[in-house]
Amino acid sequence: MKNVAENPAIEATRAFFDSRIAVVGLVGLLAVMFVAIFAPWIAPQDPYDLMQLNFMDGKLPPGSRGSNGELFLLGSDDQGRDILSAILYGLRTSLAVGAASAGIAFVLGSVVGLFAAYAGGWVDALVMRIVELQLSLPAILIALVLVAILGQGTDKIIIALVAVQWAYYARTIRAQAIIEKTREYIEAARMLRYSTSRIVLRHLLPNCLPPLIVLVTMQVAAAIALEATLSFLGIGLPLTEPSLGLLISNGYADMLSGRYWLSFYPGLALLFTIVSINLVGDQLRDVLNPKARQQ
């Protein structure tokens, strides 16, 4: 039993559950992920299968019943599309794009940051100048310009989000790696004549990861928010794969005529997702940073 208690992973898990609000965030996040993954099985209808839509059920307010007696819990749009189903499918797209871009940016940023730190000299200086240049410009501006350059489409949005986010990872991991690379175990690995890539990826990387775990959580939330903003502006995801941002944008015109539910509920789902992720990230930072935990 004593060994179990000394395991840092288990200890960190226990510390994580100390905060009630963080547990709420985690449960919320898991719930969001669950409904997003199983959306096709949970959703009352497939909102993008035109066969299932009934124009007679259009513009229903939340809680009303359609012509066949089915319940529209969050109302419907002018084509008789169930908003709840649209939100579940939208969550799927939003989470997938957010996770994919944060994941790619994480891999790309940390590899570049690690090698820059390990190589040092002009490679390091060059990479860090690029990082600084990028971080000095607002993320949304870079994303807008990239979308203007690349054009629209899911893959292009992911590229734009990765391009915005990789610099955060590169900077964070470099700061950590600069300290770690002077440690004895790196020197020992070098004595054993391991290849550079082996030293960097097998030895240096695992020791630089903890601060990145926090960053990756926060950046998933940032990616989801940025993607939603781009989609809202009409230069994000294509119409065939509506994310939450696009749903909100579609409901914009109806809002002025009082049909608030078209925009309101997708926005609520987006807010819930982002807040959940941020709560989890906040607590992770406290748990993984021993200095903050002692206070």
Partner: protein, 306 residues
């Protein structure tokens, strides 16, 4: 830098496909391509662009058939007006709230304000914009949902803030844009006040019998203004960029809305001109922040003699 943007913007997508009537025949098509200068090889287009740019000409908009830089500059005052109004709101509301939170740390009011600020950080700007419209324009019907309202011309530039109608049009977009910065100002001021209140000079001022009000407003406040001004100055550029979102929601005729429209129709010169103008604004802001810093903190003055 200009080369990367130029090649990027010009390499992908063919604006002719968007701009020209699909029913046009090949001859009309060729004529249009020629008149826009798109028939020349790319390196030649680039050097033409560079040569003209050096003379302040960033090319003509494909859509409006006017100089792109002129289009951007006529839209710039509207964006600046909105951003400055948002900045004023952020400080006017964020500063007192942060002060209160900082003076009573751990109390109910502090915790309420801090939770609110977390919420303000997480709320997507565009969604809040819609909610504000829904509440104030649709439900209560006291504020307009979009546009600029009546304007007054000063030196030929229209401004909204001088008429009552213009002010009511400005209120919602400015509040929307200010929300995020308000949370930031609150947190900055709170942290600053907490740190300063436990410092030696406050203890000394108290021992001297200076009133608590004078300590807070005269001594503590002037010390926390330095980081606040620095961060706000740098965030002003962010505000300009985020105005893109707010302008789209409220149909505010600024340069952000122009950028979005131009991206959608691949109006390349306008996109390039927007970037150039934004970069210049960023540099000016950095300069102003440096100067403000020197004005606020005597220690930062270079070559200043005591």
């Amino acid at each position: 830098m200009s080369l990367i943007v130029f090649i990027g913007v010009f390499a992908i997508g063919n604006p002719i496909d968007v701009l020209i009537d699909p029913a046009a025949n090949q001859l009309e098509r060729d004529a249009a391509i020629k008149s826009l200068g798109l028939d020349k090889p790319m390196w030649q287009q680039y050097f033409t662009f560079l040569g003209n740019a050096a003379q302040g000409d960033l090319g003509d908009s494909f859509v409006y058939n006017e100089p792109a830089i002129k289009l951007i500059l006529t839209r710039l005052p509207a964006t600046l007006e909105l951003s400055i109004a948002a900045m004023i709101l952020a400080v006017a509301i964020g500063l007192p709230l942060g002060l209160i939170a900082g003076l009573y740390p751990g109390k109910l009011i502090d915790r309420t304000l801090m939770s609110t600020s977390i919420l303000m950080f997480s709320l997507p700007t565009f969604w809040v914009g819609l909610l504000l419209i829904m509440f104030f324009a649709v439900q209560l019907n006291i504020l307009p949902a979009g546009g600029r309202g009546d304007t007054v011309n000063i030196f030929g530039i229209p401004f909204s803030f001088l008429t009552w109608d213009g002010l009511t049009h400005l209120a919602l977009p400015a509040l929307n844009l200010a929300m995020f910065k308000m949370a930031l100002v609150m947190r900055l001021v709170r942290a600053g006040v907490q740190e300063q209140m436990s410092s030696d000079y406050v203890a000394f001022a108290r021992a001297k019998g200076v009133s608590e009000r004078r300590i807070v407003f005269r001594h503590v406040l002037s010390n926390i203004m330095i980081p606040v001004v620095t961060v706000l100055g740098l965030e002003f550029g962010n505000l300009l960029a985020f105005a893109v979102v707010t302008e789209t929601i409220y149909a505010w005729p600024g340069m952000g809305k122009l950028l979005i429209n131009s991206i959608q129709v691949l109006d390349r010169p306008v996109v390039v001109a927007y970037l150039m103008v934004t970069v210049v604004i960023f540099m000016v802001i950095n300069l102003i922040v440096d100067l403000a810093y020197a004005a606020l903190d005597p220690r930062a003055r270079i070559g200043g003699k005591s």
